[in-house]
């Protein structure tokens, strides 16, 4: 087990290293650099003529004239050693200040979304497999097709429309209007919980559709196994039999794809957040991209990807614990 753990952990570090290089490349892609935008923000409208030499001076002062490799290492070094993601241009504050508690909000939203996904997908998938060919089973198949075809952000729009139409209520946001700026308190936490379930449901939508199908397919495979037939022949009650043999194994593919689900959820996050007005990392990421605030965008992309990589690692460990064959196989 120790060797398995170390191997996976090293793999995780290598992945994170390569990912950070790719994130850095994305940050470097847009034309122009921090110095251009800094000069523009600082001096525009003041009647001061900014020459190319002035911009170059800013560039030297901020160390932007160094080669890309050097800048990459100072960027990643600051992140790893000091948790410093650099400066956000749009706000002229450190990126960490801009992000603030949004990271925790995102993580909370992720956990609730995953919980909804698994609490619904596993029993429903098992039910669909056991009642194969019944009306609910067909209905679920249709729903899972829709899970791919109706993107989460459109579902969000549709829900907004009907909520407005039927209840006359706005359902967006993570907080009630007055609570957004308030300091953290039990009341604010409760406000968050009552607002979070809907965005979480929207975000869970496609992962849910996918996982129901996975659980159903694995269950169908397992239900035909001899172990099930033998247990039935021994007279094991049907409910106990389901939990003991096929259901136990049907959970494995779900556990092994936790990382994928997190990936899927984060992929949808920026757009759903924009539609539902969720003030967390996804929405900030979208704004950063639109403003070309690449330090903020890079930081968020790196944070989201790190969460995914860590979840992959956790899912590997969980799977090894659930299904010892994996570990032995290497």
């Amino acid at each position: 087990m120790a060797r398995f753990f170390v191997e996976r952990f090293l793999g995780m570090l290598v992945t994170l290293f390569v990912v950070s290089i790719m994130v850095f490349i994305i940050m470097e892609l847009p034309p122009g650099d921090y110095a251009d935008r800094f000069a523009f923000r600082k001096f525009s409208g003041l009647g001061i003529t900014v020459t190319e030499a002035d911009i170059q001076a800013i560039r030297v002062e901020l160390g932007l004239d160094r080669p890309a490799v050097e800048r990459y290492f100072s960027w990643i070094g600051n992140i790893v050693l000091r948790g410093d993601f650099g400066m956000a241009y749009a706000f002229e504050t450190p990126v960490t200040r801009v992000i603030g508690d949004k990271g925790w909000l995102t993580l909370g939203l992720l956990v609730v979304t995953l919980l909804i996904t698994y609490v619904v997908a596993i029993p429903v998938g098992i039910y669909a497999a056991v009642r194969r060919g019944s009306a609910p089973d067909y209905a679920l198949t249709v729903v899972s097709y829709l899970g791919l075809a109706l993107p989460n952000f459109m579902l969000a729009l549709v829900l907004l429309y009907f909520a407005n139409r039927w209840f006359g209520a706005s359902i967006g946001g993570l907080f009630s209007p007055g609570m957004q700026q308030a300091p953290w308190s039990p009341a604010k936490l409760w406000d968050l919980i009552t607002h979070m379930w809907l965005p979480a449901l929207v975000l869970a939508w496609s992962a849910l559709a996918y996982q129901i199908q996975t659980v159903r397919a694995t269950m169908l495979d397992e239900l035909g196994k001899l172990s099930v037939v033998a247990a039935r022949a021994r007279g094991v009650p049907e409910g106990k039999l389901l939990v003991k043999y096929p259901a136990r194994l049907a959970v494995n593919p779900v556990v092994s794809t936790i990382g994928f689900d997190v990936n899927r959820i984060f992929s949808e996050l920026p757009i759903v957040a924009a539609v539902l007005g969720l003030t967390e990392l996804g929405e900030l990421l979208l704004r950063a991209y639109l403003d070309l605030d690449m330090n903020v965008a890079g930081a968020i992309l790196l944070i989201l990807t790190t969460i995914i990589v860590v979840m992959n690692f956790v899912s590997d460990l969980l799977l090894a614990w659930l299904d010892p064959r994996i570990k032995l196989g290497g």
Binding site: T15, V18, V19, M22, V23, I26, L29, P30, P31, Y145, L146, L148, A149, L150, P151, F153, M154, L157, V158, L160, Y161, N164, R165, S170, G172, G259, N263, R264, F266, S267, E268, L269, P270, I271, A274, V275, G282, L285, L286, Y289, L290, L292, A297, I300, L301, L304, T305, I308, V309, N312
Partner: protein
Amino acid sequence: MAAIEPPRRSQTDSERRARERYYSASQWTLIWWRFRRHRMAMAGAAVLLTMALLGLFAEFFAPYGPTQRNATYLNGPPQMPMFCDHNGCTLRPFVHGTRTERDPVTLRSRTVPDPEIRNHLQFFVEAPRTRLMGFIPVERRLFGLEGAQLHLWGTDSLGRDIFSRTLYATRTSLSIGVLGVLISFFLALSIGGAAGYFGGAADYAIQRLTEIIRVIPVIPLYMGLAAAMPREWSTTQVYFAMTLILGAVGWPTLARRIRSQLLSIRSEDYVTAARLSGARSSRIIAQHMLPSFTSFIIVDLVISFPYMILAETALSFVGLGLRPPAVSWGVMLQDAQSIRAIEQAPWLFIPAGFVVVAVLAFTVIGDGLRDAADPYAGAR
């Protein structure tokens, strides 16, 4: 679904002929026979073909141009052709005309439907000359009104016809998907092919690299690349840049599938047999591996289509993809972004229906093709 199987051994003439037909049919004929039996997939194919034709010949099917404005009908609701109203019935479908009046409260002039005016639907109406697909001149549209304008699906806040715009958008969105898939296919075939062909260290490196690229959430990655497009680029430049971005992000999944397909086919018995009987590698690849490989590749391409379309829609929706005056489903849905807009003009949401239908169609076709791709599986 039952597989197409060789007819059973029997004596009658017609059955023998059916058997002969089965055994002499080519691989593609067999695939077509199997695909044809997949009713959902056939329906999906029909829907998609209709969409493609509507988009391709948008100049003829759409009554108006994508940016043509009707200043007297802003945010106008859909006009559904009808046969009957309170004045009785006709055989020709018609829509009610509109008149301008002053709002009694705000005193602003506004357009209201006038049930006393009937505008009869005309087919093949004359219209300003445009060019189909840019080169075939046409002077008629499929339908329209004479002396008035018909807005089947209403208009947006600038008075542009939603129906016409949706057709032009269909062309953009589908074609961007096709190009994106082709580019990612080209990359995937070169990279996945190299991995499968060289094996060893190259294979290992490529495998790890594709794994790592897939760790970054897709849409944020797309958005990062799209954000880098200079704002001053023209519509055409942005269009082609988008296809490149879609292709560049889409390849890892395809490359992995191509690699694993290559490896599994390489270990098939008939490939081993060919090698043992002394066939050269080039002959094995061209004669034995490629034919069985092609159908799987087509399946993979069809399956990866919806992701391209959804990515384009999502990017354009948030303003990072195509930008007006280009028209795509995502660009059109930008207008439906705020809850106030959908509340006042729910018809702005119609393009979303096209996205959903197109993705569903591609998905069921993919399913049908996957079942049909190996026509010998059932007969073995």
